[in-house]
Each structure stands twice: as C-alpha cells, then as structure tokens.
C-alpha cells in the first residue's frame, strides 16, 4: 500500500526516512503542534514550496532542462485563482476554475516555449524562459486594470476557508475555524500533487526522461523522440507549478508580482532543489523545509544567540539579527560544499 503510494520509490535510507517522516508528521499536525499564526503560515509555505520545488526537480533533476520561468508558471496559477475569485465570487467553483485555467494556460505557454526552443538546444530554452518570464512580470505589473499592478490583488476566498468561519469549539486548545480548514486544504493539495509527481518520475515516461538527461543521442538512437519528451516534461512541470501557485493564492488571499513572479523566488527554488538533491523528488521536501524555516526563523535564532553572547567582543555584532542574510549565505556555501549531491544524495550514499 505504502509502496504503491510512493510509486515504489522509497527513500532508501533510514536517516532520510526518519527525517521525511518527521517533516510529514510536523506538517500534518502543524496547527496543533505549533499553534500560532506565524508557525502555521510557515508550515503552509513549506507545503506549497515542496510542490513548487518538486515540479522544478521534475524538469531540472529528471529532464536536465534549465528553466528560469518557473515562477512565471507559479504566478499564472496564483493569478488564475485570484482573478476567478475576484470575478466569479468567493466559491469553491471559482477556485477550481481558476486553478484549472491557470494550469492549462501554463501548460500551453510551456508548450509554445518548448516547441520553439527545445528543438535546438536546451540552453536556448533557458535563455528564452528568462526573457519570457521577465516580459510576463513586466506585463503583470503594467496591466494594473486586470492584475492590480504592483499592488497585486486582494480577494475573498470561500467563507469556509476564512478565520471567521467557526465549526465547533476547540480541539487540543486550537480553535476549529476556517483558517484551519484552509491549512488542510493546502496540506492535502500539496500531498496529492507531490505523490502524483512521484508517480510521474517513476513511470516509464520518467525513465525515458532520465535516459534523455544522461544521453539524449542514445535515447534517440533507441527510438525515443527526445523533443516530445522534453516538451511534455516542461508542460507537466509548468502545470504542477501553476497548481502550487493556486494553493498559495488560496492561502494568502492575496497575489502580487513580488510574492509570485519575482526572480528572487526563482533563485530560491534553484537553491532548494540543489540543497535537497536534484533528481530525487524527496530533495524537494528537505530543501523546501530547510530553506523556508531558515528564511523565517534564522533572524529570531540569531537574535537569541546575540543575546547569549552579549559582552563578548565582536560576536554580538556578527550574530546581529540584521546579518541573517550573511549567515544564510554561509549556510548555502557549507551545504553545497558538504552535500554536493544534495542532502538526499548524501544520505543515500552513506547508507
């Protein structure tokens, strides 16, 4: 049962299984284990970024295709839901329509970009995605009538997903309200999408993708049409990223260029894939969790550490909470140095 749920692709390392199990339990019970607006928000972001990073891993780790347009697809999905909820009213039907149209538009965009550029060389694809993503980001901020421009869009989600919606009293001291439902909407949405992607990469289609990544000419000489497979992977990955974007929109009840389309997020995704381990899917879970937690809590941790070493020369300055980006950078360098194949690659090799 579990084997088939995980598409026969088990973590293959005891330590990795334990870590993944802990992450799963923490995310599944986050509102009860770590009650608080900020912690639950962090957990929801982790869920969403796991899907987003896994969809990028499908492209980069399994297909060997470098894209810089992944946040664009993420944004298309988020704006799809935002626009649907704005114009169709706050119903679940609007979420479905918005998410599906976001996924379809993303897949079509990926198809067009892919057919134009993947025919030639994968590097052109990277360059074209960069250009298209920048163009779309500018377009979104310019078309303020539709997209709210730089301010973005604030919208209402279905009442059942808002804090105002109450059902029953408390459970283990946690209020049973719509925000809790919204969290589980995000959690289960992310879980299903992740397991689906795990299925894709372990299907015959995924194997051909891996073969193409390793030796595209050889795959062609066996009889596989490399372009079709690459384009299909791009479309799938784009649709999955869009669905992650839709979850994000439902969670935040806001979309804006900075939260969904920025180059910064693109770089974050790249780092999460690399830190977690490319071509493993589970790397997305580890990478996203580490990264989002560090982004949200490194400042606090450093503040506390600075307090502890007060009076010692130099150290409090170095550990000043304002220097958190410096330490994040140091963490990246160390992780790339010690885990060149990502955390997952390292744990699997060490078994």
């Amino acid at each position: 049962m579990i084997k088939s749920l995980f598409s026969d692709d088990l973590p293959r390392s005891v330590v990795l299984s334990v870590i993944l199990g802990v992450i799963l339990v923490c995310l599944a019970l986050a509102p009860f284990l770590f009650p608080g607006v900020r912690t639950v928000d962090t957990a929801a972001r982790i869920c969403i970024f796991i899907v987003l990073v896994a969809s990028y891993d499908l492209l980069l780790g399994y297909g060997g295709i470098v894209s810089f347009a992944h946040t664009m697809f993420f944004g298309v999905g988020a704006y799809g839901v935002a626009l649907a909820l704005t114009h169709m009213g706050r119903g679940f039907d609007a979420i479905v329509v918005g998410a599906l149209s976001g996924a379809v538009v993303s897949a079509v965009l990926a198809l067009v970009i892919g057919l134009f550029s993947l025919r030639v060389r994968a590097i052109f694809f990277a360059m074209i995605t960069l250009a298209v993503a920048s163009a779309v980001a500018v377009l979104v901020s310019q078309m303020s009538g539709l997209t709210g421009g730089e301010d973005g869009l604030t919208f209402k989600t279905p009442r059942a997903l808002t804090p105002a919606f109450k059902f029953g009293g408390e459970l283990f001291g946690v209020k049973l309200n719509g925000k809790l439902l919204a969290y589980y909407f995000v959690f289960f949405g992310a879980l299903v999408l992740f397991l689906l992607m795990l299925r894709v990469v372990n299907s015959p289609f995924g194997r051909v993708l891996q073969a193409i990544r390793e030796n595209d000419f050889r795959a062609e000489a066996i009889g596989y049409r490399v372009v079709y497979y690459r384009v299909a992977a791009t479309c799938l990955s784009a649709a999955a990223a869009a669905l992650a974007g839709s979850l994000y929109a439902v969670w935040l009840r806001y979309v804006g260029p900075d939260t969904t389309l920025s180059m910064e997020i693109m770089i974050d995704i790249l780092l999460m894939v690399v830190i977690g381990g490319m071509g493993t899917m589970y790397g997305a879970v580890i990478g996203a969790t580490l990264f989002v937690v560090a982004q949200n809590y490194l400042q606090n941790l450093m503040g506390a550490a600075a307090g502890l070493v007060e009076g010692v020369p130099l150290l409090p300055d170095l550990l000043n909470a304002d220097r958190w980006l410096l330490w994040l950078g140091v963490l990246f360098i160390l992780s790339v140095y010690f885990f060149p194949t990502g955390v997952v690659g390292r744990l699997r090799a060490g078994r």
Partner: protein
C-alpha cells in the same frame, strides 16, 4: 543474392569544417556479418553515425530495407529497425540494468524468451539486474550496451568496436554472443579492430581509408592475404 538491407551511395559527411566521409559506397547484405575495417580516423564510426542520423550526410543517399533514410530523424530510423551499439556504449548510468533494458525495448514489453537468451549470453546482466548500470565494470557495461540492442529483433545491427579495451575472456563472450545473433539470421554491420574477432565473425569485409571504402570482398580472402592487409591497412595483421 537478394537486395542488400543497407546501401550507402556516395555518402559525404562533414563534422564541423572537417570532411570526414568523402563518397562512401557500401552494401550490407542480409543475414550476414559485414565488417568495416581500416586504420583509426578513416571514418568508420562516422559511417555508422551517418546511417543512424547522428551526423547528417551532406550528399549521397542511404537506403535501408528499400527506404531512403538519408534525411529521416534518428528516432524514425531506429524505429524502422536499426539497433545501434555506439563505441562509447552510451549506457544510462543512473538507471538500473533492468531499466536500461526496459527502455531499450521501445516497442513494448520485453519478450521473456529473448531475455533468457540474453542472460545466457551475458550472465552478469542477470546477476546485476537491479543494480545501477553506472556501477558495472567496463566489460559488463559493454555487455549491457549490446544486450540493449539485442533485446528486440532488429533488421540490422550497427555495432561499433564491441571488444575495444576488454579483457580476452570477455572478448570471447562478446564474440560468442555476436555469433549467436548471426546464427539467428540477423544482419550486422560491425566495426572491429580486433582482427581475430573480425576473421571469426565476418562474411564480407569493407576496408576504409581517407573517408572512402577502398576495398570490398570476402572476409576470408582478406584474412588469407597478408600482402593485401599490408597494402590496405598499412600493417600486417598476421601479427595479431
């Protein structure tokens, strides 16, 4: 003799600015092992790669089984019935032996009878069936590379130096497998530097020099005639 399975007619192929093939004429008869011989750098590998479509012939025609494949895309050429074993083996190192074989059987599930036959010819593949192909030894990788081409029946096999760099014991395993393939009635175009293997397997021989086929004839005749070998390939193959 029936019409050849593969015919190259005045094929010219460039790689960047280099003119590698300069009018290759070659015929591969059906159900025979055709050897492609010659010194290093005369265009043997390029000839195979031009057939499979990795390098495009600039001029000339390549006909396979009655069909002009000169401008066809590589996957279509492969699906028309050509199995290719490249010199660099091209195995998928991150995938298991099993996954490599499943991928190679591009037209459907693996035929169990054929797989048993391959296991018989290359026992290590059975032993390491679920191991990552990247962990195999050089000889085992070569076995896998040939097995991948053999897993489905093809009309023609293009095999590039299958014994290169292998230990003598593995070379004889390789030769035995190729002999079995031949016994099944396969047509094979084989590039081989090991003259003993060439002599044992080849029916006809084609010797290339400077981007052309300069001599064609029965392998037995070439094997007998040390003077001819010296003249064609610039070395006495009797020494081998």
């Amino acid at each position: 003799m029936s019409d050849p399975i593969l015919t190259l007619d005045g094929v010219f192929t460039n790689i960047a600015q280099y003119h590698i093939l300069q009018g290759v004429d070659l015929q591969v008869p059906r159900r025979q092992v055709t050897m492609l011989l010659g010194r290093n750098g005369v265009g043997k590998t390029t000839t195979l790669r031009s057939v499979i479509g990795h390098w495009r012939a600039r001029q000339g025609t390549i006909r396979f089984d009655g069909q002009d494949i000169t401008r066809m895309p590589t996957p279509a050429i492969a699906r028309a019935g050509i199995g290719f074993v490249p010199e660099d083996m091209g195995i998928f190192a991150d995938l298991t032996v099993e996954e490599n074989m499943v991928l190679a059987a591009a037209s459907g599930p693996i035929d169990p009878g054929r797989l048993e036959w391959i296991f018989g010819a290359f026992p290590p593949l059975k032993t390491f069936w679920t191991s990552e192909a990247g962990n195999l030894s050089g000889g085992q990788k070569q076995m896998l590379s040939i097995a991948r081409a053999m897993i489905e029946e093809r009309k023609l096999y293009l095999i590039d130096e299958p014994t290169k760099g292998l230990a003598p014991a593995i070379i004889s395993t390789m030769a035995r497998a190729l002999r079995e393939l031949k016994a099944q009635g396969a047509s094979i175009l084989l590039v081989e530097q090991n003259f003993a293997v060439a002599k044992a397997l080849g029916d006809t021989a084609n010797v290339m020099d400077d981007g052309r086929v300069i001599w064609s004839g029965p392998m037995a005749q070439l094997a007998r005639d040390a003077g001819l070998q010296e003249q064609l390939m610039g070395l006495s193959l009797e020494a081998h």
